[in-house]
C-alpha cells in the first residue's frame, strides 16, 4: 500500500470524525493551558462562512486562508501577493526552485518571520477566520506547529524533548506522571515509540538523523496543533528515513492539516493532496497534485516539472 | 604574504622609548634604596637634591617596598641602603646599622566635627583599649555616639611610636576590634569621613589634612613643643646599611645628617635630628 493510497483511505470521510474525536477526547490534564480552550472553541460554522477563493480544495472546511499576502525583507519582496486557502485534513506541498519564497511563506504562517528584525508582511492571513496578527503569538504557534529542515532536538532527554511544549507552555509546570501518557502518545503517532520506549531518558542528540526528525515531529504534535508546517523535513535525511517520514505524514494527515515545503518533486507527488508552485516569490499555480503533475496550466509550471530549470 | 603589521608596532614603541630614556653620564655610581613607604617622600626629596649637589655623579633608585622589605633587601645585599621608620627590633637580621636621618612625631586626631582640644594619658588609654565605648564618657566631647577607633596594622612604625608614649609602649594594648589601616592616608581618609572616629597620624600627614589635632596632657603637638622636649611620641627615620656605612652610602648619610641643604628639606615636613648616633641591630 503506497503512501498515496493510504492517504486516500485516510481522507475517505469515515476515518476523519473518529480521528478528530480522539484528539478532543484526550483532554489535557493541565489546567490553564490556553491550547485546550482553543481546540474547543473552533466552530465549523465560522470556517464555513468564509467565501471560497481561488485554489480552495473540494474537501474539508477551510482552515487557513491567505489574501494577497506579500512578505518583505527590508524593501525586498520575498513573497508577492499570494492568495490561497488550505482546508482541514489536507496535505499542501509548496514546491519551487531555491529562493522562490516557499520557506518564507511557510514561516509567515506561524509568524516566525517576526524573529527576523527587518521582515514585514502585507495582506491577510486568516486562521479559522481570525487574522493571525490578532492572535497571541504563543497561542498561534501552539496551534500552528512547525518542523524544520535540519532536525533540531534540544540537548535534553527524549522525554523532555517531547514533553517540552506541554511543560513549558503552561503557567504551572506539569509533573512527569501527568505528561507521560501524552508523551507516549506523541511518540506513538510519530512512529518512534517502539524504537525508544526502553530509554526515554537518553539524550536526544544520540539518536540518528531520521529518528531525530521524527522526534521533532513528535515534539511538534505533542501539544495537538491543528496545522503542522514542515520545512523540507527530509532534505537532510537518507532515503530510508525519508520513506518512514513520508509514511508518517500520511498517517498524520488524518487529523492534521499539513503544509510542507519540499524541493523534491516526487516527494510532493507521493504525499500531497494539492501542490502549489512558487517562482521568484509569485504563486504561479496551485491545484490538485495529479493535475499539477500531469496537466499544469502554466508554462512555467510545466517547464519546472519537466526539469527545464530548477 | 604580508605579516600582521599590528604586532610589530609595539617594537617601534620600544625603540622610541629606549631612545627617549635618559642617557646616563659616564662614571656614575648608582645607589639602590628600598624600604619604608612613610619615609619615601622624604627620601625622594633628599636623593634628588643630593644628585644635583654631586653633579649627577651619584644616581639613586628609590623603591618603596615597605620597612621590612627594605631591611631584608639590605641584609641580603640586594640594595645599598634600606629605609626604616622604626628602630631595629629582634626580628631584624644581625649586623645592620641604623642611622637616624630625621625625626617625626605623632598626633592624635579626631574629625573636625568633634573638636576635642585635649586628652590625658588615661583618656587615650581608655579609648584605645576600649574601656570606654561612647564619646559621652569622654570629657571634652559634645558627641554621644559610639567611638570608632582607627589604628594601624601591627608593626607600622607610627603605631610603635604612638604606643611608646601613649600606651605604656605596648602596641598590643590597642583594642583588637579597632580598624587597622595599612597606610596613614587610609586612616586619615577614614577619620576625615567619620565624625565619631579617633586615630593617630605622623605630624607630616596630620598638618596637611583638615583634621582636629588633639593636645596631649595639655601640650599641643607642634614643632616648638617637640623642640623644647615637652611633647612625647617622637621617633626617627633611619637609613639602614649592612655593616657600618662605607663609600657613597656613608657620604650620602653623612650629607643628610650634617648639610644645611638636607636640613632645609627636612624642615619642610619633618624635624632635624638632635643626635646622629647610629644604632646597630
Amino acid at each position: 500500500m503506497s503512501a498515496r493510497e493510504r492517504l486516500a483511505n485516510a481522507r475517505s470521510g469515515k476515518l476523519r470524525p473518529a480521528a478528530r474525536q480522539s484528539s478532543e477526547n484526550v483532554a489535557l490534564p493541565i489546567d490553564n493551558l490556553e491550547l485546550t480552550a482553543d481546540l474547543m472553541s473552533v466552530t465549523p460554522e465560522k470556517a464555513d462562512s468564509t467565501t471560497q477563493v481561488a485554489g480552495t480544495a473540494a474537501h474539508g472546511r477551510e482552515r487557513l486562508r491567505l489574501d494577497d499576502v506579500s512578505v518583505f525583507y527590508g524593501n525586498t519582496p520575498a513573497v508577492k501577493n499570494v492568495s490561497l486557502s488550505i482546508s482541514h485534513g489536507e496535505v499542501l506541498a509548496l514546491i519551487g526552485p531555491s529562493g522562490c519564497g516557499k520557506t518564507t511563506l511557510l514561516r509567515t504562517l506561524n509568524r516566525l518571520t517576526e524573529l527576523t528584525p527587518n521582515a514585514s508582511h502585507s495582506g491577510q492571513i486568516l486562521l479559522d477566520g481570525d487574522e493571525i496578527d490578532e492572535l497571541v503569538d504563543t497561542d498561534l504557534r501552539s496551534r500552528i506547529s512547525m518542523v524544520f529542515q535540519q532536525p533540531n532536538p534540544f540537548p535534553m532527554s527524549i522525554f523532555d524533548n517531547v514533553g517540552f511544549a506541554l511543560r513549558e507552555q503552561s503557567r504551572r509546570r506539569p509533573r512527569r506522571p501527568e505528561l507521560e501518557p501524552l508523551v507516549n502518545q506523541a511518540l506513538q503517532r510519530a512512529g518512534l515509540y517502539e524504537e525508544v520506549r526502553g530509554d526515554l531518558g537518553r539524550s536526544a542528540l544520540r539518536l540518528s538523523g531520521g529518528q531525530q526528525q521524527r522526534l521533532c515531529i513528535a515534539r511538534a504534535i505533542a501539544q495537538k496543533p491543528e496545522i503542522l508546517l514542515m520545512d523540507e523535513p527530509c532534505s537532510a535525511l537518507d532515503p530510508r528515513s525519508t520513506a518512514v517520514i513520508e509514511d508518517l505524514i500520511g498517517q498524520l494527515s488524518k487529523d492534521l492539516t499539513i503544509v510542507i515545503v519540499t524541493h523534491n518533486l516526487q516527494q510532493a507527488r507521493r504525499i500531497a493532496d494539492r501542490v502549489a508552485f512558487m517562482y521568484l516569490g509569485d504563486l504561479v499555480e496551485i491545484g490538485e497534485t495529479e493535475q499539477i503533475f500531469t496537466a499544469p496550466r502554466e508554462q512555467q509550471t510545466r517547464e519546472y516539472i519537466a526539469g527545464v530549470f530548477g | 604574504m604580508r605579516r600582521p603589521r599590528g604586532i610589530f608596532v609595539p617594537l617601534l614603541a620600544v625603540a622610541a622609548l629606549a631612545g627617549a630614556a635618559p642617557a646616563a653620564a659616564d662614571a656614575t655610581t648608582t645607589l639602590h634604596l628600598d624600604g619604608s613607604t612613610a619615609a619615601f617622600p622624604l627620601l625622594e626629596l633628599l636623593t634628588a637634591k643630593y644628585e644635583a649637589v654631586e653633579h649627577h655623579h651619584v644616581k639613586f633608585i628609590v623603591g618603596q617596598g615597605g620597612s621590612s622589605v627594605g631591611i631584608t633587601d639590605v641584609a641580603n645585599g640586594t640594595v645599598n641602603i634600606g629605609d626604616a621608620a622604626a628602630p631595629p627590633t629582634s626580628s631584624n637580621p644581625a649586623g645592620l646599622y641604623f642611622y637616624p636621618i630625621a625625626r617625626y612625631f605623632v598626633d592624635v586626631v579626631t574629625n573636625p566635627a568633634n573638636p576635642i582640644s585635649n586628652l590625658t594619658t588615661a583618656q587615650v588609654q581608655a579609648i584605645f583599649e576600649r574601656k570606654v565605648t561612647n564619646w559621652s564618657q569622654v570629657t571634652g566631647s559634645s558627641l554621644s555616639t559610639t567611638i570608632d577607633v582607627e589604628s594601624r596594622t601591627s608593626v607600622a612604625g607610627v603605631l610603635t611610636t604612638f604606643a611608646s608614649d601613649f600606651l605604656l609602649g605596648k602596641t598590643s594594648l590597642v583594642w583588637p576590634g579597632a580598624t587597622q589601616w595599612s597606610s596613614e592616608a587610609l586612616l586619615q581618609k577614614s577619620v576625615e569621613g567619620d565624625p565619631n572616629s579617633i586615630g593617630f597620624l605622623s605630624d607630616y600627614n596630620a598638618i596637611t589634612k583638615k583634621l582636629n589635632d588633639v593636645a596631649f596632657n595639655g601640650v599641643a603637638g607642634t614643632v616648638a613643643n617637640v623642640e623644647n622636649g615637652t611633647y612625647p611620641a617622637v621617633a626617627d627615620f633611619y637609613e639602614v646599611t649592612k655593616g657600618p656605612a662605607r663609600g657613597y652610602s656613608a657620604s650620602f648619610i653623612g650629607w643628610i645628617q650634617s648639610s644645611k641643604a638636607a636640613k632645609k628639606i627636612i624642615e619642610t615636613g619633618w624635624l632635624p635630628l638632635t643626635s646622629t648616633k647610629a644604632v646597630s641591630g
Binding site: 496578527d133 503569538d137 502554466e298 | 609595539p10 620600544v14 639602590h32 641580603n76
Partner: protein
C-alpha cells in the same frame, strides 16, 4: 481559478507601518518568568548606570585636575601636591611594561594555541597545557607578584635586574614584564585558539593540496588568516597588563621615576625600575601614602581613557582590511 496572479504589480512595496502582531502579555507568563524579565531589564539599565557613574565620576575629576602638562612632566619629589610634577614616567612605564609583557605573551600564547589546536599529541599533554592556561587565568595577581619576587631574587636571574654580591634585586621592567606576560597570556591564547578552531578546513586542505607542509601551512596560510583574532587577544591582554597593580608594586619597584640601571641605552632601561599609572594612582591615593590625591584622580581619568580607547580599538580591529577568513565571531570573553 487555480492560477494566482503570476506577475504582480511592478513596484511592490512593504507596508508603510510594520504591523506588530499581538504578543503574549507579560501577565500570562509564569511568575518566575515575569521576575526574570523585570530583572533582565533592570540589570541591563543598571549596568549602564554603573558605567555612567564610574565614567562620570572620573570624567569630572579628570576635567578638574587633568592638565596637558601633567602628561609631559616628570614626577618630582615634593611635600606639596603642587610641586609633585606630572606623570610622564608612569605613562612611559605603562607603555613599556605593556610592550614587554605582550612581546613575551604573544609568541608563547600563539605558539601554545597552535600546538594545542593543530598538533595536540599526546592528548593528555595537550589537556595539561590547556588546563595550565586556565589555571594561570585564575591565579590571583597578588600570588603572581609574590612568586615573581621570590623567583627573580635568585642569583641566576641577576642579569634581568642587577645584582649585589648577596643576590639579585629582582625588580625591573624585565622581571615585571615576565610576570605581566602571565597576566596577558590567557587572553592571547583563548583568542588565537578560537580563531584556529574557526578556520575552515578547506583552507588548510587547499594548502596541503599545493604540497605545503603542515607547519608551512600554519605559518603562511592559517596564522595570517587569524591575525585579527591574535590582535584582538593581544589588545585585551594589554588591557589587563595596564590595569594590574600588585605586580607593579612588588616586582617593578614602584619607584617615582624610571630609573635606568646602566648607561647601556636599551638594556639599562629594561633592567631599571619605574612605575605605571596604576601604581602611581595607588601610591598617591589613600591606599599608598597618599601624597597627591588630585594627581591620582587625574591619572585615574587618564587610565580610564586609555582603557576605553583600547576597548574601542578591540572593536575596530575586527573591521580592518578585507573580509575575514571565517565568520567574524566577536567574542566578549576572550
Amino acid at each position: 481559478m487555480a492560477s494566482a496572479e503570476p506577475y504582480s504589480a511592478p513596484s511592490l512595496l512593504p507596508p508603510r507601518r510594520r504591523r506588530r502582531g499581538r504578543r503574549s502579555s507579560l501577565r500570562s507568563w509564569r511568575l518566575r518568568d515575569q521576575a526574570v524579565f523585570v530583572l533582565a531589564w533592570t540589570v541591563g539599565i543598571g549596568l549602564f548606570a554603573v558605567v555612567a557613574a564610574l565614567v562620570g565620576f572620573f570624567a569630572v575629576r579628570g576635567a578638574q585636575y587633568l592638565r596637558p602638562d601633567l602628561l609631559v612632566t616628570h614626577p618630582a619629589p615634593s611635600v606639596s601636591q603642587a610641586g609633585s610634577g606630572g606623570f610622564l614616567d608612569a605613562i612611559e612605564g605603562t607603555v613599556l611594561l605593556g610592550v614587554i609583557g605582550l612581546l613575551i605573551a604573544a609568541p608563547i600564547g600563539v605558539t601554545t594555541a597552535v600546538w594545542v589546536v593543530e598538533y595536540g599529541r599526546p592528548r593528555w599533554l595537550s589537556r595539561i597545557v590547556e588546563s595550565t592556561v586556565e589555571m594561570i587565568a585564575g591565579t590571583p595577581d597578588i600570588v603572581l607578584a609574590i612568586f615573581g619576587l621570590a623567583l627573580f631574587e635568585l642569583g641566576v636571574f641577576a642579569p634581568l635586574s642587577y645584582s649585589e654580591p648577596g643576590g639579585a634585586f629582582g625588580r625591573s621592567f624585565l622581571t615585571a614584564g615576565a610576570m605581566m606576560s602571565l597576566v596577558a597570556l590567557p587572553s592571547v591564547y583563548v583568542a588565537t585558539r578560537n580563531g584556529l578552531v574557526a578556520t575552515p578546513r578547506q583552507l588548510r586542505e587547499a594548502s596541503y593540496a599545493l604540497g605545503k607542509t603542515r607547519i608551512a601551512t600554519i605559518r603562511r596560510v592559517v596564522l595570517p588568516g587569524i591575525r585579527r583574532d591574535i590582535a584582538t587577544g593581544s589588545t585585551l591582554g594589554l588591557g589587563r597588563i595596564i590595569g594590574d597593580t600588585a605586580i607593579v608594586i612588588l616586582v617593578l619597584g614602584a619607584t617615582l621615576r624610571i630609573d635606568t640601571q646602566s648607561s647601556t641605552p636599551l638594556l639599562g632601561l629594561l633592567r631599571g625600575t619605574g612605575s605605571t599609572l596604576t601604581s602611581y594612582i595607588y601610591g598617591n591615593s589613600p591606599a599608598g601614602e597618599g601624597g597627591a590625591p588630585q594627581k591620582a584622580s587625574a591619572a585615574a581619568a587618564l587610565l580610564l581613557l586609555i582603557i576605553i580607547g583600547l576597548n574601542w580599538g578591540v572593536g575596530r580591529i575586527g573591521r580592518i582590511g578585507g573580509p575575514p577568513l571565517h565568520e567574524p565571531k566577536r567574542r566578549l570573553g576572550a
